[in-house]
């Protein structure tokens, strides 16, 4: 693409972001401020993630972009196209083929490797945001690892609902030191954060924060000894591929209120079907 630097951002901006990334990697889970740039996309479209991706992308990289698990949403398609144009990199929908994966709301089902980087789009980086509105106070809490308040929130959940009722953006302790928002991924995905071989980078554009989890870092979901963290999943097999261990979306399939549970990770589902796995819906189709 003419008139733009490689991956859109100028080299000076990328250097600045890489410096923030290095700092973030050095202090796992700690939010590092950065000079977020205007991007040719509105906030909420993943401008934080895009800037991080732009700063780590090399000419030989293969990029995958997922939005709520799917590669084919408008958001995912336009980000992929953006980098195909501005960086000329190859793109893919196959998790295994990607070297950089930018994601919103999911972690792929397939185990990621140490030669890959995953970049999360983050709307609100501060895990204490809903509990303590003062930025100065939350910063002090992080500095002193004073996280009693977060446990009060979990306590209140159990007292009121009999269980911890957080299903998305479930707070984690990184490296036994920093409380961190994993971005709005389902709590189901939280165990994948723990000791992941992959470098995990988080970018919040509007809030101008970057944070990271280096490979193999300990990441624990907050809980109580007698109310341990449990990843929640709809108790169904995927209607298309029959998977019983993947995160499911409920989709409406006809105008008579018919519903179906299918893998939210579309690439995972497609690969399983290509390998011969069939769910109930697939069997029905074959019978018709």
């Amino acid at each position: 693409m003419k008139g733009y630097n490689f991956a859109y951002l100028d080299e000076q901006t990328k250097r600045m972001i890489r410096r923030a990334l290095l700092k973030a990697v050095a202090i796992p889970g700690h939010q590092v401020p950065f000079g977020s740039r205007e991007m040719p996309l509105p906030y909420g479209w993943g401008t934080g993630g895009i800037q991080v991706t732009a700063s780590v992308l090399g000419a030989g990289d293969v990029l995958k972009v997922i939005d709520q698990g799917a590669d084919d949403t408008t958001n995912a398609v336009s980000i992929r196209r953006f980098f195909a144009r501005t960086a000329g990199v190859h793109t893919t929908t196959r998790t295994a083929d990607a070297t950089v994966i930018q994601t919103r709301h999911r972690i792929p089902e397939q185990t990621l490797r140490d030669d890959q980087i995953i970049v999360y789009q983050v709307p609100q980086p501060e895990p204490l945001y809903r509990l303590e509105s003062s930025r100065i106070e939350t910063r002090r809490m992080h500095a002193l690892a004073d996280y009693g308040l977060m446990h009060v929130k979990l306590y209140e959940d159990i007292a009121r609902f009999g269980q911890i009722s957080i299903s998305y953006d479930y707070p984690v302790m990184v490296n036994r030191r920093h409380l961190m928002s994993p971005s709005p991924i389902p709590a189901f995905d939280n165990p994948k954060l723990h000791r992941m071989p992959t470098l995990q980078l988080f970018g919040a554009g509007r809030e101008k924060r970057i944070y990271a989890i280096p490979p193999w870092t300990e990441v624990r979901s907050l809980d109580f000894d007698d109310h341990p963290f449990r990843p929640i999943r709809a108790p169904h097999p995927c209607g298309l591929c029959g998977a019983t261990d993947s995160y499911l979306d409920e989709v409406v399939i006809d105008d008579r209120g018919g519903r179906l549970f299918v893998c939210s990770d579309t690439d995972h589902c497609a690969e399983r079907r290509a390998a011969g796995h069939v769910g109930t819906e697939g069997l029905k189709e074959a019978a018709e």
Binding site: G148, L149, H151, V152, Y155
Partner: protein, 258 residues
């Protein structure tokens, strides 16, 4: 009483602009002792409490705290994290207005449990048990554990604040007019409660009050302040029965004639 103080302050001075709020104030507090700071409005009681607890830096002078291992700490030279840790474990602070300390959008049980959780308690059942135990100790019906503080009366709020503060068994608690916002009828009951709790748990207390009656009821020793200076100090009964300084004599006689 051992000869080693829990908290000592020497030559504390602090001015707000031209106004001297503390002038050369010395304080000693022994473990398990209840010390009352009395004086009329504006005499510097709250200022002294805030300086003693490390919340406000003096212009001159120093405050020393002896930790459970016997080590002395210069409160105003401590790194912020250490001071914060002290405030959420060994120390406690009871405000005149309980709303300043309580989380009004968190249940009574959550309010009492917060300090436990901040100290690393991770067993829901045992946090709840201790919350119930403490609600009972401050005479709040255990059935109110999941209720919001906004449904509590003023006296209950103050007792909830005390439960929230004492749950971690602090060694030293600072109290600023703990009964000041309550009806007279409710005050007496709360004072009895404070006295029995701190006696049983052997907690040292610095209690700020402008009410000589409160000081007489609770305190072993008393400090009388006037315009930022300590004008008289000693055992409560001695000072109040036989006041030496004219200002103390005035304070005592005004109570007698009231």
């Amino acid at each position: 009483m051992t000869d080693e103080t829990l908290l000592s302050a020497r030559k504390l001075s602090l001015s707000y602009g031209m106004l001297p709020a503390l002038v050369d104030v010395d304080v000693d507090l022994w473990p398990g002792e209840m010390l009352a700071v009395v004086g009329e409005s504006g005499s510097g009681k709250t200022t002294l409490l805030n300086v003693l607890s490390g919340r406000l830096a003096p212009d001159a002078g120093a405050v020393w705290y002896r930790d459970p291992d016997g080590h002395l700490h210069d409160v105003h030279a401590m790194p912020a994290p250490a001071l914060r840790t002290l405030h959420r474990s060994d120390w406690g602070f009871v405000h005149q207005d309980p709303r300043q300390n309580l989380r009004m959008n968190v249940t009574a049980g959550g309010n009492v449990g917060e300090r436990l959780m901040a100290q690393g308690a991770r067993h829901y059942g045992s946090i709840r048990e201790q919350a119930i135990d403490w609600l009972t100790q401050v005479e709040i019906d255990a059935g109110r554990i999941d209720d919001m503080p906004r449904t509590f009366s003023g006296g209950m709020l103050q007792r909830l604040q005390i439960a929230r503060t004492l749950v971690t068994h602090p060694r030293l608690v600072f109290m600023d007019e703990p009964t000041g916002s309550l009806d007279v009828s409710v005050q007496a009951r709360l004072l009895d409660l404070i006295r029995s709790l701190v006696t049983r748990l052997n907690i040292a207390v610095v209690l700020v009050t402008h009410d000589i009656g409160v000081a007489r009821l609770l305190a072993h020793r008393i400090i009388v302040m006037q315009r930022g200076r300590v004008v008289e100090t000693g055992l409560t009964d001695q000072v109040l029965d036989d006041p030496q300084h004219p200002y103390t004599q005035l304070l005592v006689s005004s109570v007698l004639h009231a």
